[in-house]
């Protein structure tokens, strides 16, 4: 009897979820997610299962691909670092200072999300090519930007800046000004206050923003291909390698390299989550 009772109460719990709509909303969620995202993604593995290990290895260790990994990594890293610096400065001035045009500046931060990447790509290419407005100036002092890794980095800076600013801004807004006042009262200079008091508070957010900008930079295509110039071993990024393999109908190689990219982006996001939870943990322990 006890058993029967248990079963009936289990049954009634399912039936009696107080808020209605669980079955329907969950059903729609799972089916749409599967149809649009999961099943197409799984086809990567379906295709890869038809690629032998030798071919897989050949595709991913192709010298041209390895050069592309390097270009993608270095450029994404450089861009994310620049964005970490300027993103912090921008978040800081937007939150802490009042100056004319602040609201417009704030609104502009999201421009890279709103502007199609291809438009950004051709505009940056024109701007930084040898006879473009900035390119001309830089060519005068012997720096070439368009069709070099520097150009790729610039495109990735453009794409990544909102991630950092928007990650740090809310944290700074919530940060109680009293901490800083307390530090100032204790005689700390402005820089000391920032480094010792403010920076530890925004560090997790900065890391998140940095990581998102980096991950986005690794996968970015539209804004980069125009300014990159697609020179083998020099300015080919990984998405471009995949694209060119596809154009040669070499699906196996394209999919193999795609898998490497997926693994890498997940590792990046995972690493950020891990470091972040460590930081949060440390912060909680200190309280």
């Amino acid at each position: 009897m006890g058993q029967a009772k248990w079963v009936s109460s289990r049954h009634s719990r399912k039936k009696n979820r107080v808020i209605p709509g669980f079955g329907l909303s969950m059903g729609i969620t799972i089916s749409m997610l599967s149809l649009i995202v999961l099943i197409p993604l799984l086809s990567i593995f379906v295709v890869l299962s038809g690629v032998g290990p030798a071919d897989f290895w050949k595709a991913i260790s192709d010298p041209q691909a390895i050069a592309a990994y390097r270009v993608s990594l270095i450029c994404a890293l450089a861009a994310a670092l620049v964005n970490a610096l300027f993103g912090t400065i921008l978040a800081w001035i937007l939150v802490r200072y009042r100056f004319p045009g602040r609201r417009i500046l704030d609104g502009l931060i999201e421009l890279p999300f709103a502007l199609p990447t291809a438009v950004a790509g051709i505009a940056l290419t024109t701007l930084y090519s040898d006879n473009g407005w900035i390119g001309k100036l830089l060519a005068g002092i012997g720096i070439k930007v368009a069709y070099t890794p520097i150009g790729i980095t610039i495109a990735l800076i453009f794409i990544g800046i909102p991630f950092v600013v928007r990650a740090i801004q809310p944290v700074l807004e919530k940060l109680d000004g009293q901490y800083e006042e307390a530090a100032t009262m204790l005689g700390a200079s402005g820089w000391q206050t920032f480094r010792r008091v403010v920076f530890p508070e925004i560090r997790p957010a900065l890391l998140t923003g940095f990581g998102l900008a980096f991950a986005r930079g690794l996968g970015e295509y539209g804004s980069v291909i125009f300014i990159a110039g697609n020179i083998p071993y020099e300015t080919q990024i990984v998405p471009l390698i995949i694209m060119s393999k596809l154009e040669q109908f070499n699906y196996g190689a394209a999919t193999s390299i795609a898998l490497i990219m997926i693994v890498f982006s997940f590792l990046t996001l995972f690493a950020i989550n891990f470091i972040q939870s460590r930081l949060n943990h440390a912060a909680k322990g200190a309280e």
């Binding site: 006890g2 009772k5 248990w6 009634s12 039936k15 009696n16 107080v18």
Partner: protein
């Protein structure tokens, strides 16, 4: 029995929230579920409402087992702890919601809502939004909203928790009067014993997922059934060497004693008429509490708390006093015994 719980158990992730809970309530009663936070009192209320489903046990309302009746079909009005008013609806729409859902006639809804708004004294505020109301007004809206569909049973989860201390007292009286005039069976949850004593016809004391005692406030106060009830109702102190006190030497075999300020009389030294039944003590602290003076005395290394009237001669810390203890609640693991001061009885017989 109008509402009855029988052997109800509920576990949350291994935590025993309800442990064989059984009690029943008569029709038309206003009952307070009283207990410390985490005691399971809110879980009992939510189980009754159908918001929580018990692992085992039966729930009866009006003679019907309602375990498998969904929350919305149990005929219950529920006032949530933070009222859960619909923030984007006016007072009128909030109160009307339950009736709209039942697809009642528009004219009827209007009439019923206005009637309820009148009942809770919020005339003229129909078109306000919850954020434009004070805490007390929000509670009245929540109350009216719960009553609108004409429930048989009204459940209130910590109805006064979100209200300023100042108007809380006034609202308690209002709620008690309104519920009594409507005659609707009601159960409310509270952690505040004053509130329970003042509002409820009957109190159910809950602790650790179990029912400690059920009864009217005066009975529980006078004869607590469990050590927990003794300590929880009224102001109380626990003593661990009661048998050293004059008049209580003969009570042995009990672990501890609970004493209340009302059971102690503190007098200037030597001014105690029944001297041989009293103890000597030293005043440790004196606090002015408005209508009374709270005196902490050290008697044989134990701290006792008693009250004196501000009209009496003031006592000073360090002063020697006579302390007469009328009664103690003695208890073991699970038994409570009311102990009279033995010497006091002797004295009486001598005088007569």
């Amino acid at each position: 029995m109008y509402v009855e719980l029988k052997d109800v158990n509920k576990k949350f992730k291994g935590f025993r929230a309800l442990d064989d809970v059984s009690f029943s309530i008569d029709k038309g009663k206003l009952v307070g579920l009283l207990g410390p936070s985490g005691s399971g009192k809110t879980t009992i209320l939510r189980t009754l409402a159908g918001l929580v489903h018990p692992d085992s046990g039966d729930i009866f309302i009006d003679g019907k087992r309602v375990n498998d009746v969904p929350a919305s079909k149990r005929g219950i009005g529920f006032v949530f702890q933070n009222y859960a008013l619909f923030r984007y609806m006016t007072v009128f729409d909030n109160v009307a919601f339950g009736l709209t859902v039942e697809k009642k006639d528009k004219k009827f809804i209007k009439q019923r809502v206005n009637e309820l708004i009148g009942l809770v004294g919020l005339e003229g505020l129909q078109d306000r939004y919850p954020h434009q109301l004070s805490g007390g007004q929000r509670q009245r809206v929540a109350f009216a909203r719960a009553l609108a569909p004409n429930p048989h049973l009204l459940l209130l989860d910590e109805p006064f928790a979100a209200i300023d201390a100042k108007i809380r007292k006034e609202l308690r009286l209002w709620l008690r009067e309104t519920i009594n005039s409507l005659g609707i069976t009601s159960i409310f949850v509270t952690h505040d014993q004053d509130e329970a004593v003042e509002v409820a016809d009957e109190i159910v004391i809950v602790n650790g997922g179990r029912i400690e005692q059920k009864g009217n406030p005066a009975d529980i106060y006078k004869s607590p059934a469990t050590p927990f009830a003794a300590r929880f109702i009224g102001e109380s102190l626990v003593l661990d060497r009661h048998e050293t006190l004059h008049g209580f030497e003969t009570y042995s075999g009990y672990d501890r004693a609970v004493i209340r300020p009302e059971l102690i009389q503190i007098a200037k030294h030597g001014k105690q008429p029944i001297l041989h039944a009293s103890e000597d003590g030293i005043v440790e602290d004196v606090f002015f509490r408005g209508s009374l003076i709270e005196v902490h005395v050290n008697v044989k290394g134990m701290r006792l708390i008693g009250h004196r009237s501000p009209e009496e001669d003031p006592l000073l810390p360090g002063e020697k006093v006579s302390v007469l203890i009328y009664r103690l609640y003695l208890y073991n693991e699970d038994k409570v015994h009311l102990a009279e001061n033995v010497r006091l009885k002797d004295e009486n017989t001598v005088f007569i």
